[in-house]
């Protein structure tokens, strides 16, 4: 079976700082990989490398056995929820339509086949009920469901999620996480999920890639989220606290705002 993502000896630097080096990573179809680490540890840069937007300094990176390239339509992307500009003349369904034909130049007429596809995508994330409401009036959770539908437009083999649960309440967090999980189970779509907070997806994650201080470690949550492992990674005492099924990481150097936050 061809891996969804293959990185061999990957090295990426930003300015004169090495974000990560000698990264070897294979993500299998249907696998759920969480990417954790402090701000500036190279999480988003990894996504950009997968999208072909930044070249690696060394090593190779392939999606489904092919070298990465810009505008790969088989990669779906789910970004962070954000405020919609007040002057945005779009309804819920239009966000999904952009996933289907937003890259196409030419007269902005959406043919029936595309409209049917949008309807099916809306139904698949349970967003039919608010599809015709203005985007700016939808809640963060409703917006994120639509973004999941948008990302699924071209039946992706790889889903890149960049903090898709940030600023959602707990109920919406688990609902959106479940949508993504269902998708990968039913369609064998690999998921790479960048997050600050591992807890909403703790029951879902297969493996974790933890980036810190130019180093990384890969393994199951139980292998990676341990005090001695993270202390070794950061080169400083870090404590992993498990409490009532949730995981907290305390004492991360140089990132005071991580105190109390998770992983």
């Amino acid at each position: 079976m061809i891996p969804a993502l293959t990185v061999r000896n990957g090295t990426l630097s930003f300015a004169d700082r090495t974000l990560w080096s000698d990264l070897d990573l294979e993500v299998a179809p249907g696998e759920f990989l969480a990417v954790l680490g402090s701000n500036g540890s190279g999480k988003t840069s990894l996504l950009r490398a997968i999208l072909g937007q930044v070249p690696l300094d060394a090593g190779t990176i392939e999606v489904h056995g092919q070298p990465v390239h810009r505008g790969n339509r088989r990669i779906g992307i789910i970004p962070q929820q954000r405020l919609i500009m007040a002057g945005t003349p779009l309804r819920g369904r239009d966000l999904v339509t952009l996933g289907v034909n937003g890259h196409r130049f030419g007269l902005p007429i959406t043919p029936k086949t595309d409209r049917d596809r949008v309807d099916a995508l809306l139904a698949s994330v349970g967003a039919t009920g608010y599809a015709d409401r203005p985007l700016g009036q939808l809640s963060g959770g409703e917006q994120q469901r639509l973004r999941v539908a948008q990302a699924l437009a071209d039946d992706p083999i790889l889903l890149l999620c960049d903090e898709p649960l940030a600023s959602l309440d707990l109920a919406h967090q688990s609902a959106v996480a479940e949508l993504i999980d269902t998708r990968r189970r039913e369609h064998d779509t690999a998921v790479i999920f960048v997050t600050h907070d591992i807890n909403p997806i703790l029951g879902t994650v297969d493996r974790i890639l933890y980036l810190a201080e130019g180093r990384f470690t890969i393994g199951t949550p139980d292998e990676v989220l341990r005090s001695e492992v993270l202390s070794g990674l950061y080169g400083a005492p870090v404590e992993v606290i498990r409490s009532r099924g949730r995981i907290f990481v305390a004492g991360i150097p140089d990132a005071a705002h991580h105190e109390g936050e998770v992983a």
């Binding site: 999208l51 937007q53 810009r70 505008g71 790969n72 339509r73 990669i75 992307i77 970004p79 919609i84 500009m85 007040a86 002057g87 945005t88 003349p89 779009l90 309804r91 239009d94 966000l95 952009l98 996933g99 034909n101 937003g102 890259h103 196409r104 130049f105 030419g106 007269l107 902005p108 203005p134 985007l135 700016g136 009036q137 948008q150 890149l160």
Partner: protein
């Protein structure tokens, strides 16, 4: 006041001007939808000041004023597009460019020995004094902008909403941002000829802002906005012809009145379930 027969004669004289204003009203309404989505109202104002400088320079040198206005517009649009990819950078660049352009324009006008009517016209509008050849150019440019906007409509919408996702999905976002700035520059240059550098926002911002108070439909908003732009531009000329006052205040007043009504009506639309 004038009688009806005289009015019709006048109307016949300014037919071409009305056609130019009508096309501009439509294009301004259409591009305004993206000006709002991309938060570019300030850029419109900045470009128009450099467009004014270009037009004033052309007047001084005795070359085609519309061409001068175009050159100024395009230079400003490209500078803003190239240096101001991010909103914060953009605003400071516009803030720096704008007084420079206006100052340059005032200098050129001060050096210009000709009629003062021409001078004032660049700032506050002079559509009825634009000659036939230039009107053709203005209409041609407006149609070009209209067609180009329709072709880039979908990717531009995607880029305006979510540039990172659009880029990941294969939209050439950087090229598109520059194309948009060029189209905006062209639309501004035409507007400067019609209602003057100081008032371009009445045609490039106000109609779209009004339409957005009334709807969030990606089809209805551009249609309303084009309609509002058309009514403002043509209505302004038709009313002004009956008296001796300049055209621009009528265009800006109609455009403003439409916005006020849209706000009031929009409030009720929003409150209703």
């Amino acid at each position: 006041m004038i009688d009806f027969a005289t009015y019709l004669e006048l109307l016949d004289l300014v037919k071409a001007s009305i056609a130019a204003a009508a096309v501009l009203g439509i294009v301004g309404g259409l591009i305004g939808v993206f000006v709002m989505q991309r938060d570019m109202a300030f850029a419109v104002h900045g470009i128009s000041e450099l467009s004014f400088a270009g037009a004033a320079g052309a007047l001084l040198l005795g070359v085609n004023v519309a061409v001068g206005s175009l050159v100024g517009s395009l230079i400003a649009a490209l500078i803003i597009g190239l240096l101001g990819a991010r909103a914060r950078d953009r605003n400071s660049i516009i803030g720096v460019l704008m007084p420079f352009g206006l100052g340059l324009g005032i200098l050129f006008l001060a050096l210009y020995p000709g009629r003062s009517g021409n001078k004032f016209g660049l700032l506050t509008g002079q559509i009825v004094s634009v000659n036939f050849e230039q009107l053709g150019l203005l209409i041609g440019i407006s149609v070009l902008v209209l067609v180009a906007l329709l072709i880039v409509w979908r990717p531009l919408t995607f880029d305006s909403l979510d540039p990172e996702v659009a880029a990941a999905r294969g939209v050439p976002t950087r090229a598109l941002a520059l194309i948009f700035m060029v189209l905006l520059g062209l639309a501004v240059a035409v507007s400067v000829q019609v209602i003057g550098a100081l008032l371009v926002m009445a045609l490039l911002v106000t109609p779209a802002a009004a339409a957005l108070r009334l709807s969030a439909s990606p089809l209805l908003v551009p249609i309303l906005s084009m309609g509002f732009g058309l009514v403002s531009a043509v209505g302004g000329i038709l009313i002004a012809l009956g008296g001796s006052l300049p055209i621009s205040p009528f265009i800006t007043t109609i455009s403003f009145a439409i916005y006020i009504v849209a706000r009031i009506v929009g409030q009720r639309v929003r409150v209703a379930p």
